[in-house]
């Protein structure tokens, strides 16, 4: 069969907020879908299949919500697939949708991801203690804080690095009209003065809890050529998984992330990601994950990711702008957060990122992770066709 070329034809997202009480789950998804389809210039008849992603069903209290969303997503009479890979699901959903095109099964695919956390209680949903399983009753921040502390110890990073990331991402988010948290007035000092939640993670270094959705329309070569606006060509996709806990597992620099990145760069034909990637949307729910993932993704050597951040190279205008959209720190509708990273990467190379557009962005990374830093999904998109990158 062989691999077909695939491209992002259009993207759409909602206005993100703590509580979108003005819309149902279906209404929330349709906001993103309608925008993505308008951006791609396609109608319902052009959509061959729908792929839905979101994090645990207990977050909204609906079992397999894609079933009841079939009407609103125009899926009736079509194939509908529901992906769930923990917090990486938004990225995985985009990758699965891409594979439906790359495998020669469909011409155009609509991928949608969402989380409407206000419909239920995500903290409760994550606090069920099943028998014989290790309980983690401290929320996501409590789970990840020891990893961050371990990173700081191993790398010798100074304390203000996390605060620098928070200031940068929130400033970027203030330029993004869809962002949930829009703060242009944070300073490193004010972040360091904010309340300590899970040492060493402070309040201002923590993602919000958001209602929101993201959608993308993907197509094959002929669909991309028929598009009236620039498309984002998919150069590579990768997913890797490892168990949550076992003796000797490196939770600061997980093997699954390193393996996924290695596979991704190889598939994209990239030997030096730091010089060949123009902009990266990386899943950073707590600020310290920026330097951690810079190392895990192979942008820097182990132990020196924070130096790139400290030098200001990850800000817009720097050597590798990270999260020009504001990232997960500015909007976190969990199931959609990964797809937002993938969509924002596509928007950058399609030159449709508005006020947070990075000049000269031609090759971009979208990245997501989930579970206990054990599920990874990534893609590289470009303004040029795969293999023709200049």
């Amino acid at each position: 069969m062989g691999k077909q070329i695939a491209a992002v034809l259009g993207t759409g997202q909602t206005r993100h907020a703590s509580r979108r009480t003005d819309v149902s789950m279906a209404g929330l998804c349709r906001e993103a879908v309608d925008r993505a389809m308008a951006d791609a210039g396609v109608g319902w008849a052009d959509v061959d299949a729908v792929v839905v992603g979101k994090a645990p069903d207990l977050f909204e209290g609906v079992m397999m919500p894609e079933l009841m969303l079939a009407d609103a997503l125009g899926a009736n009479g079509k194939p509908l697939l529901r992906v769930h890979t923990a917090g990486s699901v938004g990225g995985s959903t985009a990758n699965v949708a891409a594979s439906l095109v790359q495998g020669g099964v469909h011409r155009r695919v609509l991928a949608v991801s969402f989380e409407k956390q206000s419909e239920s209680n995500a903290m409760w949903a994550l606090s069920i203690m099943p028998p014989f399983s290790m309980p983690v009753g401290a929320g996501a921040g409590g789970y990840f804080a020891p990893h961050v502390r371990s990173y700081i110890r191993r790398s010798g990073a100074p304390e203000h690095i996390g605060a620098m990331v928070a200031v940068k991402d929130r400033l970027n988010g203030s330029k993004n009209p869809w962002a949930h948290v829009r703060q242009s007035d944070l300073t490193v000092e004010s972040v360091l003065a904010s309340q300590m939640l899970w040492d060493p993670i402070r309040y201002d270094e923590t993602c919000p809890s958001s209602d929101g959705a993201c959608a993308i329309v993907l197509g094959g070569e002929s669909a991309a050529q028929a598009a009236t606006q620039p498309v984002a060509w998919i150069h590579a996709t990768a997913m890797r998984t490892e168990p949550t806990t076992f003796a000797g597992r490196d939770q600061v620099n997980p093997q699954a992330g390193r393996d996924a990145a290695a596979a991704l760069w190889k598939q994209a034909g990239i030997s030096d990601p730091l010089s060949e990637i123009d902009v990266a949307e990386i899943y950073v729910p707590f600020s310290w994950f920026e330097p951690m993932w810079l190392e895990n993704l192979g942008f820097t050597d182990e132990g020196s990711g924070w130096r790139l951040t400290e030098a200001g190279e990850t800000a817009i205008g720097g050597r590798l702008p990270i999260n020009p959209s504001g990232g997960v720190l500015s909007s976190n509708p969990i199931g959609a957060s990964g797809m937002l990273r993938f969509a924002e990467a596509a928007m950058q190379v399609m030159k449709r990122a508005g006020d947070h557009q990075v000049d000269g962005a031609r090759t971009a990374l979208g990245h997501a992770y989930g579970g206990g830093s054990q599920y990874f999904s990534m893609w590289v998109v470009g303004a040029d066709r795969p293999g023709e990158r200049s």
């Binding site: 069969m1 062989g2 691999k3 077909q4 149902s24 789950m25 994090a55 645990p56 069903d57 207990l58 977050f59 909204e60 209290g61 609906v62 079992m63 397999m64 919500p65 894609e66 079933l67 009841m68 969303l69 079939a70 009407d71 009736n76 009479g77 079509k78 194939p79 509908l80 697939l81 529901r82 992906v83 769930h84 890979t85 923990a86 995985s92 699965v96 594979s99 439906l100 790359q102 495998g103 419909e119 949903a125 994550l126 069920i128 099943p130 014989f132 399983s133 890797r240 998984t241 490892e242 168990p243 949550t244 076992f246 597992r249 997980p254 093997q255 393996d259 596979a263 579970g371 054990q374």
Partner: protein
């Protein structure tokens, strides 16, 4: 051939039982299933190019229940993996696509469900519209009963024909060591039993089942190495319908018809249909256009064991095994999801 580039080459399943004693997510059931599947093909877990699973957090009553299955695999070094919150037949679809991209040449697909961990009828009510329908707690058997009543009143089938489906299934299940329910029963005896949800009697409904299954897929070159007579996938299609029970004709299954037509189901000798209710087998036979010459559910089907999120995948494994044995040249497997046959998948395989 454009589509027969992927084949089913392995299948293993856990015994279908009313309740296991394992943890609520039931992933323990997977360990011997993986062993049996890999041993049967001579592969190790490191030889698998892609893993894809199907399961449900709501069945286990906890978030991220599928993560525990990664422990059952022993997934280190890390694996190339994905998961659908659906019956694992749809995970097989995702894996089939993955092999078609040329990125991998083998894929291990698995599904698991421990229905005994909760109250299945109430849990399935949570699949319905959360704003207007689910708060009324419509029981999943009662919803199927509405469908059966509509079929009876339309003259599409009789209660006797429904009982015949159950009796034939149980008789066939006597040759399936993994079946939960089996035996020789008289249709006349079945019709004297009380209603569970009028017009459904106990024999019309799939038993509540714990179980798991796994299927191995391979690309053309690998398939020929792994099995003398692979079951080549010549058609794999799925469709969904409206969730609004009043918004579709419950006495037909257009999503099944469309999928079967697109997958070219003509001339299949054996069909494994995922029909958790006896009347649904009759509706599905009509929707697919199966005639009297097609052997239906030689395994006994879902009426003799219905492990949620694995039962559809098991249909594919059961149908493929008829090709491997040389018993059939063209077979069909079907999987369903959602209330009253909302979502349906058809997989056609040839020797």
């Amino acid at each position: 051939m454009t589509e027969s580039d992927v084949a089913v080459v392995g299948f293993a399943q856990a015994p279908n039982v009313r309740a296991t004693h394992g943890t609520t997510n039931g992933v323990e059931m997977l360990v011997p299933v993986f062993d049996e599947l890999l041993d049967g093909t001579g592969l190790s877990k490191k030889d698998i190019g892609f893993w894809c699973s199907g399961s449900s957090d709501y069945l286990a009553g906890r978030a991220f229940s599928f993560i525990a299955a990664i422990d059952a695999i022993g997934a280190f070094p890390p694996i190339n993996e994905s998961h659908v919150e659906m019956d694992a037949a749809w995970a097989l679809f995702e894996a089939w696509v993955k092999i078609r991209t040329g990125e991998v040449d083998t894929a291990l697909v698995y599904g698991f469900g421990k229905s005994s961990a909760g109250d299945l009828r109430r849990t399935l009510a949570m699949q319905l519209d959360p704003y207007f329908v689910a708060p009324l707690w419509p029981d999943s058997v009662a919803v199927a009963g509405l469908q059966a009543r509509l079929g009876l009143d339309s003259g599409l089938f009789s209660e006797q024909q429904m009982a015949q489906v159950a009796a034939r299934s149980r008789a066939d299940a006597q040759r399936n060591p993994n079946a939960q329910v089996s035996g020789e029963v008289q249709v006349s005896d079945l019709l004297e039993r009380p209603y569970v949800a009028d017009p459904l009697r106990a024999h019309d409904c799939a038993p509540i089942t714990d179980g798991a299954s796994a299927v191995l897929l391979a690309s053309a070159d690998r398939a020929r190495e792994l099995r003398a007579r692979p079951a080549w996938i010549t058609g794999l299609e799925h469709r969904v319908e409206s969730a609004q029970l009043g918004g579709r004709d419950l006495t037909a299954s257009p999503s099944t018809s469309d999928a079967a037509s697109a997958a070219d189901a003509t001339g299949v000798e054996v069909a494994e249909l995922h029909a958790p209710f006896s009347h649904q087998e009759i509706l599905l036979r009509t929707a697919i256009g199966l005639g009297e010459s097609t052997r239906i559910n030689p395994s006994g089907g879902a009426l003799c064991g219905n492990p949620m999120f694995a039962a559809g995948l098991s249909r594919i494994g059961e149908a493929a095994s008829r090709v491997w044995s040389g018993e059939a040249g063209k077979v069909l497997a079907h999987a369903t999801s959602g209330p009253a046959l909302q979502q349906n998948l058809v997989c056609v395989m040839e020797g």
